[in-house]
Symmetry: C2
Subunit: 355 residues, 2 copies
């Protein structure tokens, strides 16, 4: 490909979103600029990539709100594209380890084409007999999160353990639940609609599920589902649900958390009242991020790919089409509009008119 100017649609962070309230579509701007696609010089170690899929993830709100004290993330600022996880195809390479048409996943700007100056942060995709979009979720960050949280962060729950998962039909929760079923646990999930509850029970193999929006008394709902208490809670929600879980935990139970989505849009977090239960019940409450578990990714793939191929593990995706629909898809996460993993399809792998 010689140097060529083409149009490049982008999703720009227009302004920092307001702390303590929902991110808004109007915090983002979909715009089209021109980009000069030029083959990177050999030795430049840069790539030009074409975005295929983007992942809508709750963590983006922290960056979009310029949350104080945040460390370890890839930041972006007003005037620049959102940067999140995605799948892309190498269009031109100036890096010896990547060649044209390689597929990669990792942190990618929300635009059709990007110049990547640090491609070592991208992971090459070697298995393409599964849907490519899975590398935004099941085989990407969400999968790594679920695997780390269930198998690595604390002692792995064992056969017969009582496992509760909040946000259970989401990108991570649906996997944690299926891992727990593979290990012989009794698994209950909470979600925000009857349709999601049906998904959990009928398609994803959960033993029980409830719609937290329809339960007047969350403590009672959990007691109904777990008369003997909860051994392992995979925490993604926080707030009142966490408080209800705390008084339903078994002695020595573990709470492993990677998010508290119910709190992200509140002016002030809800106070957690039952934390004394951590002491009385001798609980472990452990926060983690997949970013500390990059080293397990090969092990995770070895584990999960056979299950995906054998259809032992299912993955439900909610795919929005086109960058124009990306802001709404992202905003929808925080009200639970998505049904399964929220993905944005930006381009088809085989739509090669640009090359």
């Amino acid at each position: 490909m010689a140097s060529r100017v083409i149009s490049n649609k982008q999703v720009i962070l227009r302004r920092y979103a307001t702390a303590g309230s929902s991110i808004q579509e109007s915090d983002m701007l979909v715009t089209t600029t021109n980009i000069t696609l030029e083959a990177p010089a050999e030795g430049s170690n840069t790539l030009v990539v074409k975005t295929l899929y983007l992942s809508c993830d709750p963590f983006l709100h922290f960056i979009m709100k310029n949350t104080p004290g945040l460390t370890g993330y890839t930041f972006f600022t007003p005037g620049s594209p959102i940067v999140g996880y995605g799948v892309a195809k190498v269009v031109e390479s100036g890096h010896p380890e990547f060649k044209k048409n390689d597929l990669v996943w990792g942190l990618i700007p929300w635009q059709e084409y990007s110049l990547i100056s640090d491609p070592q942060r991208l992971i090459k995709i070697h298995h393409t007999d599964v849907p490519l979009s899975y590398y935004t979720g099941l085989l990407g960050m969400a999968g790594k999160t679920a695997f780390a949280g269930f198998y690595e962060v604390s002692n792995k729950p064992k056969k017969g353990d009582y496992v509760f998962i909040s946000a259970a039909s989401g990108a991570v929760g649906q996997l944690v639940g299926q891992f727990a079923k593979l290990e012989g646990c009794y698994v209950v999930g909470s979600a925000g609609s009857q349709e999601k509850v049906d998904l959990l029970k009928n398609k994803l193999g959960f033993d029980e599920a409830f719609n937290y929006k329809e339960e007047k008394d969350l403590v009672a709902a959990l007691k109904r589902c777990f008369p003997k208490g909860i051994d392992f809670y995979f925490e993604q929600v926080g707030g009142a649900l966490l408080d209800a879980v705390l008084v339903n935990m078994r002695d020595h139970g573990r709470i492993v958390g990677c998010g508290m989505i119910s709190q992200y849009n509140l002016p002030q977090p809800q106070g957690i009242l039952n934390l004394m239960e951590v002491i009385l019940r001798r609980l472990h409450l452990i926060g983690f991020t997949h970013r500390d578990y990059d080293h397990i990714y090969p092990k995770f793939l070895d584990f999960v790919l056979p299950h995906v191929r054998n259809h032992n593990i299912t993955y439900v995706e909610d795919i929005a089409h086109g960058l124009d629909n990306a802001p709404a898809a992202l905003v929808g996460l925080f009200s639970g509009r998505n049904f399964g993993k929220q993905v944005v399809k930006v381009a088809d792998l085989h739509d090669d008119h640009d090359e």
Copy 2:
């Protein structure tokens, strides 16, 4: 000793204390009854013991308030004596492993003389070159708690780690601080008076200390003491101090807790607002009780006794005299009236007029 009727002073739980408020001296009744001291028959496996020291411990309030859902404790009910940790002397033994004049520590009713039908729950005292009262604290439950919490519950803090201890001049805190100094940590404690702060800094070897009652902004106080953040927080207080700690923790820090004394007298616990920090900073928050660590007691004694004998470890006790003063001593714990470990001396080891 033949069968003989003698007077037996007791501290009785008069009525359950009111949940959500302070225990009161009037919840207890000091009274004197008669007891028939009779040598237990051989094979009865019971003991008659004479109480020497009693330990005032915060956990007693849970039992005195008939806290719902409590498990694993030795309970007592209105009309019966308080039962807590103490030191006693065997007066008569019908158990092959105990003989007259043996010294023991463990759960003992708050009265001068007791018939103990399950002496296997008592621990024999073999080292008497240290003050006997230490077996209510330093060499008893408090010491085991401090040792378990610092060395066993999570990875032991290492040289140079930043360690914060609340209720630092109390029965457990003063030991955790000294263990942390032995390990080369930087150690800061909080306490509720200038006198206690001076104790921490001048006698117990803490690097820094502050009076939480005098600090307008606990977050700022901790930031002043820990500009680089806290690696290990030994939690005994809860509430606003815990919230302030959460935003001062370093990534991957650990919070190990055995109590939340600031919350025990409140009608409703204070909501903890900053729990999202557990996730953002990837913290471990671990509740524990010494009751799960009985097996470490011999190892703990081997560790601590040489330090006590060499005066590497100091232990500050606040000794009340006589059962008449026991209710006030216990109630005082919850307002921090005690200066160091609160003990009640009931009788002198060598005051043998009863035998």
